[in-house]
Amino acid sequence: MNDKTYYLNTFKVTECQLRKLVETALSRGGDYADLYFENTSFFNLLLKDSEVSSGGFHTDFGVGIRVLNGEKTGYAYSENTDMPDMLKAAEAASAIASGQSGRSGLHYARAGVMKLDLYPQQEDWRLSDASAFLPFLKTVEQEVLSRDSRIVKVMARLSDSVCEVLMYNSLGELTMDSRPMGSVTVTAVFRQGEATIDKSASRSFRIGAELISGALAKELAEEVTRGIDERFAAKRPKGGQMSVVMGAGASGILLHEAMGHAFEADFNRKGQSIFSDKMGTRVCPEGINVVDDGTLMNNRGAGNYDDEGVPGEKTYMVKDGILCSYLHDRISASRYGVPPTGNGRRENFRYNPIPRMRATYMESGNAEPEGIIASVKKGIYVDEFSNGQVKIGEGDFTFFVKNGFLIENGRLTAPVKDINIIGNGPEALADITAVGNDLKIDNGTWTCGKEQSVPVSCGMPTVLVNRLTVGGE
């Protein structure tokens, strides 16, 4: 993955041309310029109605050119790497510095190099054709069908991609990365009498085609068919304010939405976040650590480098209850006078990078999960979320809970479904009263949609929030 010649040949450029492009981008002034070359191959197969009868591949290729003048951004891109077209894009990006004289005074520093390849590929997805994966999807379907006679439909999708990037900047840093991604999603529809329900399960990793295995098919089938009796029996509970126990794993999406976004430095440098004046202050009880981590091996949110050529790192946003870092791209790091944290990410070369999360989770505490549930007299246990949303300024969030249970006198009782949990990020953080010792990273196909779509993951130990609003009947 560090074969410079391979990447230069892939993008049909020379190092001399890279320097020329950066010079052109800064020809009207500015503090910093960078180039982001991308060559991505996507591939997908879909099993539906017992046949893998649709699929395809897609190719995306181009270069994005950015000029930073202080905190201001000029951005343009070209969908080919012919020098005249790239020079045009560089000139368009340079417009941000038009009419300005010299530099803004902000300092953009070198970022260092990666320590470890977080996603070595044993089998390159691009070297296998569709026929290699058809039996796997059939196996998934059989594994699912064999577990529950109430299933009326199964859909299974395999999506993979390999994204090759080459980055060069005005500090002279040249970085390269090859980023694989493999995702499998299975959805089953169950019918019992007049009632119909659906359930999905997915796995997604930065990994090569070695992801595909019989064990994965079994794991997905097991998950998608688990708890169906409870689902058919589930009802909407009576709504109101109550204690909420977040189950380990997918509850991390609440951390991502309700707190993580408000820690992204672009919202803070613009004064828009509810946390913008809270650096160094206590935001939750002692002992709680909240992390955004780009270094988890093969994780969907992992990055050897971010999309600004900054090595991935593990960033503590909250340590022992104190807000200690925002998530930075190069612009905000420069503004705050701190090193970038490797959070400058983008959907593809068409977008300029902005601060984005990677794998966001709360570290384990000391409590036993069973003890946390036992401590609740009346409340709700939730462990399967879908979409959520937050208002950055106010901190108000809403989450849709697909599945959970009532807690009555310390025991899980009636199953519940289709409810929302609503609250306020800082208030909820401050209201955490127990953290379990069972951190679990959820490896589903989480995608964050802040302006651009990027793959992320999340995790959580079992956590008790003393009081949140639960929407019900």
């Binding site: 197969l45 046949e51 893998v52 009868s53 649709s54 699929g55 395809g56 591949f57 897609h58 190719t59 290729f61 201001k72 000029g74 951005y75 343009a76 891109y77 070209s78 969908e79 080919n80 894009a89 368009a92 990006a93 417009a95 054709d129 569709a130 058809l134 439909k153 859909m155 529809v189 119909t196 329900i197 659906d198 709504g239 613009k270 004064g271 828009q272 068409r350 300029n352 879908s386 979409n387 959520g388 949303q389 937050v390 208002k391 950055i392 300024g393 106010e394 108000d396 969030f397 809403t398 989450f399 849709f400 697909k402 289709d418 409810i419 929302n420 609503i422 609003t469 929407g471 019900g472």
Partner: protein, 449 residues
């Protein structure tokens, strides 16, 4: 290029082919607190091919359009389709159903020729006019709030999509777009932050009202100061035209044949049946000239038509493409709705004259008291059951007047029940919007707080 691609695919053995060639240009300028913060220029082109080979089907795309690259791309695509399972229901649409009036691209008048004479200075001036930061900051003393940030964006774009198939269909759609967006974040005296946004978009250069955009965003932020919690219970709900499409989207999704065929729709077996209040009529006004969302053909090239989707509460149309028509044995329509328009209605007063000029204020007056929803914050609708739960933001109202903002509230219910409790639909759909959904009123909606 599209024809060359089609010829290559046929030469490689494809039975039939559809090719879509897309090109777009976007210029945008973002202002932060009155100063230019970001300038960007995008120019995209891509080709999609839909291949039908030996009774099999696949879709492929690339933005590498050099001749040699395309040849390799098509050859590889045809090879891959041959590896997939057979699907005898896949085919191009009946040629009788494809549009015959869309070869030029601007038949609907959605491309404003003034776009070609726009330049960087004009766009910069528009972005500057959009910002009201200095004006607000200079006059905020004594207002009870401080403006924390103003972020606004002005953009112009051009899209050109060309679609052909191997049965002789040819269609083109061109569209220009001029858009402005403003978001204001303010802080009240107690340190509470509130944000509000406004946007406008038009295919015409003089369409968006740039000068009022920031003020509207500011007003939407300011009116949220001082929110109160309300008790849970059943209230009359009025939904502002700016967000009412959120409640229509689950209905239209449930009418899609793909969802019905997969048993993932709560409107299965509803065609021709009265499912909702007789006040609910949704038309697909796909062919209205000059309006956002209008188009003469869908993604298969099938001609669109102005037609009812739900008429007086009765489902009149599923969205059925060629594939699902053949697979489910039902008549094909169009792949999806283009420009939904929800018709005005006043329960108990259905005469045409009464249903003209119904504003949000009129609806609030008729409803008396309840909760006005001006935003949705998260939530979901179960596609199989129609059960929904959405976070909302908005205001309590009494005697037809807004009294105070509410916070941390949710609505829950079922889509079929909700739309059976429709009591009013206004005539105030936002002109900028592709979906023409006005302010709405419903009885007895469950709110949790």
């Amino acid at each position: 290029m599209a024809r060359r691609c089609m010829e290559l695919a046929l030469e490689k053995g494809a039975e039939s082919v559809r090719v879509s060639l897309g090109k777009s240009v976007l210029d945008s300028l973002t202002m932060l607190n009155g100063e230019l913060d970001k300038v960007s220029r995008s120019a995209d082109r891509s080709i999609f091919i839909y291949l039908f080979v030996d009774g099999r089907y696949g879709t492929f795309s690339t933005n590498r359009l050099e001749e040699k690259e395309l040849e390799d791309f098509v050859a590889k695509a045809v090879t891959m389709v041959r590896m997939l399972g057979e699907d005898r229901f896949r085919s191009l649409p009946d040629p009788q159903r494809t549009a015959k009036d869309a070869a030029g691209g601007n038949e609907l008048g959605l491309f404003d020729p003034r776009y070609t004479s726009r330049n960087a200075d004009m766009r910069l001036k528009a972005a500057g006019d959009l910002s009201i930061y200095a004006k607000v900051k200079s006059g905020e003393a004594g207002k009870g709030y401080e403006l924390i940030s103003e972020e606004c964006e002005y953009s112009e774009s051009y899209e050109d999509n060309y679609l052909i198939d191997s049965q002789g269909f040819e269609g083109r759609h061109t569209e220009s777009s001029f858009s402005c967006f403003s978001e204001m974040t303010i802080q009240d005296m107690e340190g509470g932050k509130f944000s509000g946004f406004w946007w406008e978009s038009s295919s015409k250069a003089d369409g968006p009202d740039i000068c009022s955009c920031g003020q509207k965003a500011l007003e939407r932020a300011v009116r949220q100061i001082g929110p109160k919690r309300r008790r849970s219970g059943k209230y009359r709900m009025v939904v502002d035209a700016g967000v009412s499409s959120r409640l229509v989207a689950p209905l239209l999704s449930a009418l899609n044949a793909a969802a019905i065929q997969q048993n993932m729709s709560f409107l299965e077996d509803s065609l021709g049946k009265r499912m909702f209040s007789e006040g609910l009529t949704i038309m697909d006004m796909a062919r209205t000239p000059g309006k956002n969302g209008s188009r003469l053909f869908d993604t298969e090239g099938v001609a669109t038509a102005d037609a009812p989707v739900i008429e007086k509460g009765t489902v009149r149309k599923y969205f059925v493409n060629t594939y699902h028509s053949r697979k489910m044995g039902i008549p094909a329509t169009v792949e999806d709705i283009s420009r939904p328009c929800l018709m005005p209605y006043l329960k108990g007063d259905e005469s045409t004259a009464s249903c003209e000029g119904i504003s949000l204020a009129d609806i609030l007056q008729r409803c008396g008291s309840g909760i006005l929803v001006t935003g949705f914050n998260g939530g979901n609708c179960n596609p199989v059951s129609g059960d929904f739960s959405f976070g909302i933001e908005g205001f309590a109202f009494s005697r037809g007047k807004v009294t105070h903002p509410v916070r941390e509230m949710l609505i829950t219910g079922n889509m079929t029940s909700l739309w059976n409790s429709l009591t009013a639909a206004g005539t105030d759909a936002l002109p900028s919007s592709r979906w023409q959904i006005p302010s709405l009123a419903f009885d007895d909606v469950s709110f949790s707080a």
